[in-house]
């Protein structure tokens, strides 16, 4: 398990794959007057691909290592590395579209793709259009990369089918995420249910379930077993990850996330944290929260006040508890996989990267 060297390999391979697969190929003929914009998009494809934590690629590699025999591990590593990068390329594309949908200016501390394009073309409309296209291209590149790697992997065609299913699941998740924004706030239990459901589709799908599944399939596990096991381990893990991410948004700092603290609150996102707060609030606090979220926007003072209310109502503690329970569920599922002690601890360590806050929790 050499994550730092894994990280270096992933990082350089992503750049090279994005250059090869996304957008123009070397022999493509393009009118010279359109070249500057074409080059701008190609450059942004690389810029948008930089700076991720690569958690999904790392999990793909470690899942493969935990389940594959030694000879398969060595023989198929390069193809698997490409598959791991395909998940990251997919994410980059999904985030480009996500930033358009949320009208976000920043991503990973840099201008979001559509903003960069708007600046570069001096046109909001064209910048926006180019952003939609960059997202489309990276989605295509993700499948293309996996499709080229698949013939060199065990169960290669099942891997491609699983990747396409992953694309679909995240798209479903985005739709559900938008649907939640239309739900009323007066039924917090329903909001918790709906938010966790969104997490399953929008986050767990490609963050934990699919990477685990890819590693298992390529290691030789049949598709039904791989799916079942990936869900058992990856679904609670992915939910814990998103809860931890939402928590970081209110207790973290801007330098950790590349986004300003309280961003979800500022956007008025309907999160599990909010639902837990509304649920545990007294009448005055509940009214205060609902009024803030029903308004068109929230001031900096209100953002701070909301975080205070999340704290006072115990919603933050509740989220920590949820994360700990889900992480235990995931660990228990790993323990039933009959892995060797070495491979079991390898997989547990790989999965624990998704819940860094858990160390605080277990020490508490």
């Amino acid at each position: 398990m050499t994550s730092s060297s894994d990280l270096e390999q992933i990082e350089s391979r992503i750049v090279s794959l994005v250059k090869d697969f996304a957008f123009l190929h070397a022999d493509d003929s393009v009118a010279s007057s359109c070249r500057p914009i074409a080059d701008m998009v190609a450059k942004q494809a690389v810029t948008s691909s930089e700076g991720g934590k690569r958690l999904r690629a790392l999990l793909t590699l470690d899942s493969f290592r935990a389940f594959a025999s030694e000879d398969v591990r060595e023989r198929d590593f390069d193809a698997l590395l490409d598959l791991a990068c395909a998940v990251e390329v997919f994410q980059t594309g999904a985030l480009v579209h996500d930033d358009i949908i949320d009208d976000s200016d920043l991503r990973r501390g840099k201008p979001s793709a559509h903003r960069a394009f708007s600046t570069g073309t001096h046109s909001e409309a064209i910048g926006h259009g180019l952003g939609i296209m960059l997202g489309d291209m990276l989605a295509t590149a993700s499948v293309d990369i996996a499709d080229k790697a698949a013939p060199k992997l065990t169960h290669g065609s099942d891997v491609v089918a699983a990747l396409l299913n992953m694309h679909r699941e995240v798209e479903v998740g985005q739709v559900l995420d938008l649907a939640v924004e239309l739900n009323p706030l007066d039924d917090p239990d329903e909001l918790v249910e709906a938010s966790l459901n969104v997490f399953r589709w929008k986050t767990a799908s490609y963050t934990t379930i699919a990477p685990l599944e890819f590693g298992m399939l390529a290691a030789g596990i049949g598709k039904d077993d791989a799916r079942k096991q990936a869900l058992a381990v990856g679904l609670p893990l992915g939910l814990a990850f998103q809860l931890a991410d939402d928590l970081l948004d209110v207790v973290g700092s801007s330098s950790n996330t590349g986004k300003p603290v309280g961003g979800d609150i500022r956007e008025g996102k309907r999160t599990v944290l909010l639902a837990d707060a509304i649920n545990a609030a007294n009448d005055t606090q509940r009214r205060e929260l609902i009024d803030m979220w029903e308004a068109d926007s929230r001031s900096e003072t209100q953002v701070k006040r909301a975080i205070e209310l999340f704290e006072q109502t115990g919603a933050i503690e509740r989220s920590r508890g949820r994360i700990a329970d889900l992480w235990n569920e995931s660990k228990t599922a790993i323990e039933t996989l009959s892995l060797s002690e070495y491979h079991e601890s390898l997989l547990i360590e790989a999965c624990s990267r998704f819940v860094p806050s858990i160390h605080v929790q277990t020490r508490a």
Copy 2:
């Protein structure tokens, strides 16, 4: 060659495939509060899929018929039908994104998807976000459909690779199309070159080249030959098709296209027609055209005046000439393919659907 029965089969198969592949599967669990929006998106996926002329699916089938031996034709027809539908599903998704980029209210005479979503959710922002997602989903479904059909086809993995390349080419084309909008209007030769280049990527790629290529691959032709032949026949044909489509926008009627006449002019699109008009115009006419196109919008009177200028400068006649030349180039390429007389005329008839206006031209 039974196009009307082909059309019926394509139409009913598309609906069934979109229901099966796009968005939710039967056993997917979704929070009840999000169901109404999920159902709205699923319904719109079908609505957006209706009403196409299915030219691309028909060409896929006819290309296969022209090149495949009789036993392959019968054995693989069902899988090929799915592949043909995958091209149509791709197009539907691309048009959903195209309508967002162009901010179009109408598509095939009905509200465009993002408009329908905006109305349905009473929110421009959410409608817009759901539109981006519907386009993403249909793109994923297109690959998924082809990927499931591929193992039942000759050269199935080459077919999937060609389909992914088609996705990429159209995405490149959309970027170039946006780039052309930023070009100055004072070099009409450059504008003609750039516009034809956009047609190659944005239109010919998936309208004629890929459908011909899919049919050839599935008929057993090797990938290099299939690519070369599909380009030789499909590239001029696709360019002719787009020129004819642009022509229809100024000489057609709203009932033919489902869009108001002069829509491209109203939007200020930089077309080959415009470039030809600027090229052949006298100084006064040239200034008039450039001023109209450099303005933020064009009135109905200006749209009529522009069409008049297209006529007076001979740009419309020039386009008819271009279309005739390109169609001849495509036919000549077909004639070098050493098909039997029957299969050659089958393929020529299939290709002639893309240039319906040519009958007028050849009679003239």
